[in-house]
Symmetry: C2
Subunit: 426 residues, 2 copies
């Protein structure tokens, strides 16, 4: 990636450099930047970085930076600072910017209303292309000019005009004739994730946002949609790994105790669930004492079961997230995963039986291989079903995927193992 001259690319480089400095030194470094560069670098920081930097700056500096932000970025920053700081920052805003900020703060967290820009240029459907271009020139530097919402005589949104279509239109044509009346529209109360996915799937650069009365209130731009999707992916990945509170901050900005807190909740649940394995083994203690060799394969069997289950759960979680699989497909998915589990189990048994027979004996070889076969089928079924059930009852499937499935398969896998051992060996 080459960059001809320092500008936007380098603002994000400088922001990167800044957030890698120890917190105490960032404000001093930031003050060395030229005024315009400083504003660009501040914009390029993520909300956590902005909050940390503001902490080290003095009041007139923070007021200027805060006033210069886009309203949606400002709202995101407010989520990251202590309530007292948020109040001080908002009270320092000019009346205009404060009004725009209040509009966004009126919508629920995680809603489209929080990431929209309330500053847009709205046109009536009967203005001409020439008049529309003149209006754009008068409007100055808005965050989004990629789409222009068009309203009819009754002030209702009736379509969307894309800037390239406007530029290509003959000057005397009315915008109502070149607008797209079927452009998607979202509600300010919609969740951010489906809005972002819609924009991604339909390749939209921006989408108009309306309130409950279908009046236009803002526009969501594609850069905000990309940020939402990245945050969701990070969250999914972290949940799959059993992190209860997704951590959005850069790794080294997170205090150790917060990393511990993010991890300990799920771990404790998993440890509590894992005590099941102790009980199961406790019930078979006599069998174990009789045939200690059985113990040797416990980690191999439950480890493999866990891995097989995690694969199935991850595949299904992702398929649910991108909408490939729905509740109605449950039977089909389960049947498919059962066959996958059977195939995997047969492959392992084909290798395992001769090897184990050569080292130990046929009974042990059969016990371990048959157990592994059954555990594989059980693990793919559990891995497929748990995320679907979670999705059905309204829990994020990522929450119950890999670690949860692994632990469940651990305890039940032991039951399978000892049931098979009793049947074959004893």
């Amino acid at each position: 990636v080459t960059r001809p001259e320092p500008d936007r690319g380098s603002a994000s480089d400088l922001a990167d450099e800044l957030s890698r400095l120890p917190r105490a030194r960032r404000a001093a470094r930031f003050r060395l930047l030229e005024k315009d560069t400083a504003a660009a670098v501040f914009d390029a920081l993520d909300p956590v970085g902005q909050a940390e930097l503001l902490d080290g700056l003095r009041d007139p500096e923070t007021t200027t930076l805060f006033e210069g932000m886009d309203p949606d970025d400002r709202v995101r920053l407010l989520d990251e600072v202590p309530a007292a700081v948020a109040r001080r920052l908002v009270s320092g805003l000019s009346p205009d910017e404060r009004r725009l900020t209040d509009v966004l703060l009126g919508y629920p967290p995680e809603s489209a209303g929080r990431i929209m820009t309330p500053e847009y240029l709205e046109l009536r459907s009967d203005v001409t292309a020439e008049e529309a271009l003149a209006a754009i020139r008068r409007a100055g530097d808005l965050e989004t000019l990629q789409i222009l919402p068009i309203r009819d005589a009754s002030r209702m949104l009736c379509g969307v005009l894309r800037l390239p279509a406007l530029v290509r239109a003959a000057p005397e044509v009315r915008v109502g004739e070149v607008m797209d009346p079927g452009h998607p529209v979202v509600s300010a109360y919609d969740d951010q994730e489906p809005v972002a996915r819609l924009m991604q799937e339909a390749d939209l650069l921006a989408v108009p946002v309306v309130d409950r009365e279908r009046r236009l209130v803002g526009v969501v731009t594609v850069d905000d949609a990309m940020e939402v999707l990245e945050r969701e992916e990070t969250e999914d990945l972290q949940r799959v790994a059993g992190l209860s509170e997704p951590v959005h901050k850069p790794y080294h900005s997170v205090p150790t105790w917060r990393l511990v807190r993010a991890r300990v909740v799920w771990l404790s649940l998993l440890v509590a669930a894992a005590t099941l394995t102790v009980s199961v083994l406790g019930a078979f203690e006599a069998t174990l004492a009789q045939a200690v060799t059985l113990a040797l394969f416990i980690p191999l069997l439950i480890g493999t079961g866990g891995n097989v289950g995690a694969q199935a759960a991850t595949t299904m979680t992702r398929a649910l997230a991108v909408g490939d699989v729905r509740w109605a497909d449950t039977g089909r998915s389960l049947w498919k995963e059962l066959r996958v589990g059977l195939s995997l189990g047969l492959i392992f048994a084909a290798v395992g039986v001769p090897v184990l027979w050569a080292i130990w004996d046929l009974d042990l070889a059969l016990t371990v291989s048959v157990s592994l076969l059954v555990i594989c089928m059980w693990a793919t079924s559990v891995g497929a079903m748990l995320p679907m059930l979670a999705d059905r009852v309204g829990i994020d499937p990522a929450v119950v995927s890999a670690p949860f499935v692994t632990t469940l398969v651990d305890a039940t896998g032991l039951l399978i193992y000892f049931a098979v051992a009793h049947a074959v060996l004893l």
Copy 2:
């Protein structure tokens, strides 16, 4: 999410509906669509869905659909069809479209050159804003008009003009004065992922692509960047779960044997690695025979170690992917994860010692709790280090994350457990 009238949103809905039908019925359903809708629905399908649909259509239909695609989408589709079909499709193209397609096919897979559009409007820096707008009107419907690459008298790229800036410029101003000379530029040979991340971080709607001589060859648009990022996220998530060949197709379009193939490679490696646990336990068989109770805690200890390691590995993999952590931070990261592991271990020990003491005895309580403490510290260290080492030697960190870390921690965790048991109990 509301959609006023069927258009782009509904093309992606129809595409969704189509790809959920059994393959044999898709072509028949597709033929019922109106001509314009059919083209939009075809565009909205992912490359795999397009390939499956083409398979059921007849030659004149496929030729028309293929001719109507954007060159970058066409190249992606060619990757999904058998070589013979690809040759037939390309040979049916008009000379113009064929030339554009060949340009893209000339760049390596996964490079920016493969996802760029080679159709763009390039302007000389000395034309006026008015002339530029007239050129846009003459140019017709290009995939990207969001940015206009500007070249100097020596035909080299010297900057980028954003469409809103052009519209706002006075008619007589030269585009060289309103262009952005510092706009990021990428090479056609750059990997797609860093290009997409740059576009996301710098909020770019499009970025010009140059060849090795810095001559402009195309433009990458933000919708393609979003697709690249989604594919990478899916790949990372699948790798974290130990799937060796990331599967990009919709779940129910993937034959069972391909799901098995995607999973069996890593599983076999993991099973092979897990035989280490059999050897470790084999070495301690005498100890186990002497104190069978020790066996009861094996799944709990290694399961928890695996979960702790997976959390650390996932956190680190993500931090590496988004650039929060680098090789230079290794010491700092390791120190941080050691403290996290220690904290987690102390929390578990604080609960575990009294509980285990009450049920069994103090020696066992100490053995299990001290082992868990050491395993937690070991697991966070391994979880932090393996992805960093992988990244350092040029392997995707996601490949060596959760399942690999889990299996490694399983075997070494047993060593720790028996070492502690020998010290405390025997």
